[in-house]
C-alpha cells in the first residue's frame, strides 16, 4: 500500500499507509492523526484539511478547482505556494512516499 508522510507542526513525522483511492485527508483522519479536521467530510467546502505539499510532489497532484483555490485564500494558517486541501488529493501509486506538512491551525 502506498505511504504518506504527515509532518505535524512540531515536526513529528507520521508515516501511514493510505489505500489508493482514499484522500490524504481521509488517511489522516481515519487513523486519528491530529492536525487535519475535514469537518465537511471531504467535499471541498470548509478548508479544515489544509496542508503544505512537498515540492517534489506538487506537479503530480490533480489540478486545483476554483473552489479549492478560493477556500485556500481563507485558511486559518498562511497560504503558501505549496498549499492544498488534502481532501482533494486522492492516493495513487504515483504519490507513494508523498510528504505533507500540517499547518499550525486549521
Amino acid at each position: 500500500m502506498p505511504k504518506v508522510v504527515y509532518v505535524d507542526f512540531q515536526g513529528n513525522r507520521n508515516e501511514l499507509e493510505v489505500a489508493n483511492g482514499m484522500t490524504l485527508m481521509q488517511g489522516a483522519v481515519m487513523n486519528g492523526l491530529d492536525g487535519i479536521e475535514g469537518e465537511c467530510s471531504g467535499s471541498c467546502a470548509c478548508a479544515t484539511c489544509h496542508c503544505y505539499v512537498d515540492e517534489a510532489y506538487l506537479d503530480k497532484l490533480p489540478e486545483m478547482s476554483e473552489n479549492e483555490d478560493e477556500l485556500l485564500d481563507g485558511t486559518a494558517s498562511e497560504r503558501l505556494g505549496s498549499s492544498r486541501l488534502s481532501c482533494q488529493i486522492r492516493m495513487t501509486d504515483d504519490l507513494d512516499g508523498i510528504v505533507v506538512q500540517l499547518p499550525e491551525e486549521q
Binding site: A19, G21, M22, Q26, V29, M30, N31, G32, E39, C40, S41, G42, S43, C44, A45, C46, A47, E66, N67, E70, L71, D73, G74
Partner: protein, 410 residues
C-alpha cells in the same frame, strides 16, 4: 463519587456519538466508554451516501470515522448491530436487545432520526428505497445497474442530491415534490428557483405540487404511479426522501421530557442530569432562534457532542454555535450558514447566471443567515461574521470588491 467507575455509555454511532467518543478521549477522559449502535458497521459518515458515494466507487471504507484499530487503542467498547431496548434511570443501566445490561455514570443519547415511510400498499412498501444507512445505499446500488427509470419522492436535500447523482449515472429521473418549491424549508425562494432550473437543465423531470395518488406493481417488476395531479409514470425503482422523525422512543419510555425531539438545555442535558442528548433527535432553545428548534445537520451533531464531552469532563460548556450545513447537487455546492427564519431582506453578491453567488439574509439591518452557491470561501467568512455578530451594510454585502474577511477586523 462511587468506588467503581461505570463510565459513559453512548447510544448511536453517527456524527454525534462518534464525536463524543473522540472529544472525551482527547480531553483526557480515562473511564470506560461504550458505544451501542443498531447499525452493524463501524461508525461511519452518512452525508456522502446521497452525495458522492455512488459516484466515487461506493467503497464503504472511505466513510469510516476511524479504522477498527482506533477503538481498541482508545479502549472503546463497541456493541454494533445491537439496539438499546430500555433505560433504567434509577439503576443507571441500559438494557440491550441481546439481553445485556450496561451500567453508566453518564448516558449520551444520539439516536438520530427515523425515516418517514412513504404511504403505499403493503405489498409495495418493502420495495421502496430510502437513503439513511450504508445498508440502504448498498441495496440501491445492487438494483441501480439495471434500472433506467427512477421516481424520487421528495424535493428536500436527500431526494435532490440522489436525483442529481442518478442523472450523473445516466438514469431517467422524475422527482415528485409535494409543495410549490424544492428545498422549501431550508433555502430562500431565489435559491430554490435557481436550483429548480439547474435540475431541469440537467434533465431531471421535477414535478411540483404533486405526490403519489396510487402505485401498483407491473409484471416486469417495475411500478406504475398515478400522481395526485393526474399523471401516470412508470419506473424501475422508487426512492423516497420525505423527511425523518426524531427517534425519541427510548427517551420517552424512560420518562425524559420530549417535545417532537428530546428536550435538552444549553449544556445538552436532558431532564435527567445524568443523561445527555445530541444530534438530529434533540430539540432545544438556540440563542439565535425565537422558538425551540431541532436541527438535522452534521454541525449540530458535532458541536453538541463537543459540549457534552466538555460537561462530562467537568469543564462547563454551552451550545451556541451558529448553524451551517451543505448540499452537493450536480456541480453546485450549496452552503447555508445561520438560521434564516424571519428574514425580511435579501442582498445578492454575484450573478445567478455565473452559477456562483451569495445571498445575505437580513432581519432589519441584522445579518441572520448567508446562503452561497459555489462560493465556499464566502461561506467560511460568513460563518465568522455570524459568530462575531457582525452585519455588513447592504452595500458592503452586494459589493464583490469588499472582501468579507476584511469586515471581521473592525
Amino acid at each position: 463519587m462511587g468506588s467503581k467507575v461505570a463510565g459513559v455509555v453512548i447510544i448511536g454511532g453517527g456524527h454525534a456519538g462518534f464525536q463524543c467518543i473522540d472529544s472525551l478521549r482527547k480531553g483526557g477522559y480515562a473511564g470506560p466508554i461504550t458505544l451501542v449502535d443498531a447499525d452493524p458497521h463501524l461508525p461511519y459518515q452518512r452525508p456522502p451516501l446521497s452525495k458522492g458515494y455512488l459516484l466515487e466507487g461506493a467503497d464503504p471504507d472511505t466513510l469510516l470515522f476511524r479504522t477498527a484499530a482506533y477503538y481498541s487503542e482508545q479502549s472503546v467498547n463497541l456493541h454494533l448491530g445491537i439496539a438499546a431496548a430500555a433505560i433504567d434511570r434509577e439503576r443507571h443501566t441500559v438494557q440491550l436487545t441481546n439481553g445485556l445490561s450496561l451500567s453508566y455514570d453518564q448516558l449520551v443519547l444520539a439516536p438520530g432520526a427515523s425515516i418517514r415511510p412513504l404511504r403505499v400498499p403493503d405489498e409495495i412498501a418493502d420495495q421502496v428505497h430510502y437513503i439513511k444507512t450504508l445498508g440502504d445505499i448498498d441495496r440501491i446500488n445492487t438494483q441501480l445497474g439495471t434500472a433506467q427509470n427512477l421516481v424520487v419522492v421528495g424535493g428536500g436535500f436527500i431526494g435532490l442530491e440522489f436525483a442529481a447523482t442518478a442523472r450523473k449515472l445516466g438514469k431517467n429521473v422524475s422527482v415528485l415534490v409535494r409543495g410549490p418549491r424544492i428545498m422549501n424549508q431550508n433555502v430562500t425562494p431565489e435559491l430554490s428557483r435557481f436550483m429548480l432550473e439547474q435540475h431541469r437543465a440537467h434533465g431531471a423531470d421535477i414535478q411540483l405540487n404533486t405526490s403519489i395518488e396510487t402505485v401498483s406493481r407491473l409484471d416486469n417488476g417495475g411500478f406504475e404511479i398515478l400522481t395526485t395531479d393526474g399523471r401516470t409514470l412508470s419506473c424501475d425503482m422508487l426512492v423516497a426522501g420525505i423527511g425523518v422523525t426524531p427517534d425519541t422512543r427510548l427517551a420517552e419510555a424512560a420518562g425524559l421530557e420530549c417535545d417532537e425531539g428530546i428536550v435538552v438545555d444549553a449544556g445538552c442535558r436532558t431532564s435527567d442530569p445524568a443523561i445527555y442528548a445530541a444530534g438530529d433527535a434533540v430539540c432545544f432553545t438556540h440563542p439565535l432562534a425565537d422558538t425551540r428548534i431541532r436541527i438535522e445537520s452534521v454541525q449540530n451533531a458535532v458541536d453538541q457532542a463537543k459540549v457534552i464531552a466538555a460537561n462530562i469532563l467537568g469543564k462547563p460548556a454551552e451550545y451556541d454555535s451558529a448553524p451551517w450545513f451543505w448540499s452537493d447537487q450536480y456541480e453546485f455546492k450549496l452552503q447555508m450558514a445561520g438560521l434564516h427564519a424571519g428574514y425580511d431582506h435579501v442582498v445578492q453578491r454575484g450573478t445567478t447566471e455565473s452559477g456562483k453567488f451569495t445571498l445575505f439574509l437580513y432581519r432589519g439591518e441584522r445579518l441572520i443567515a448567508v446562503h452561497t452557491v459555489n462560493k465556499p470561501a464566502d461561506h467560511m467568512a460568513a460563518r465568522k461574521l455570524l459568530a462575531a455578530g457582525i452585519s455588513p451594510s447592504f452595500d458592503e454585502a452586494a459589493d464583490e470588491n469588499v472582501k468579507l474577511n476584511s469586515l471581521l477586523k473592525r
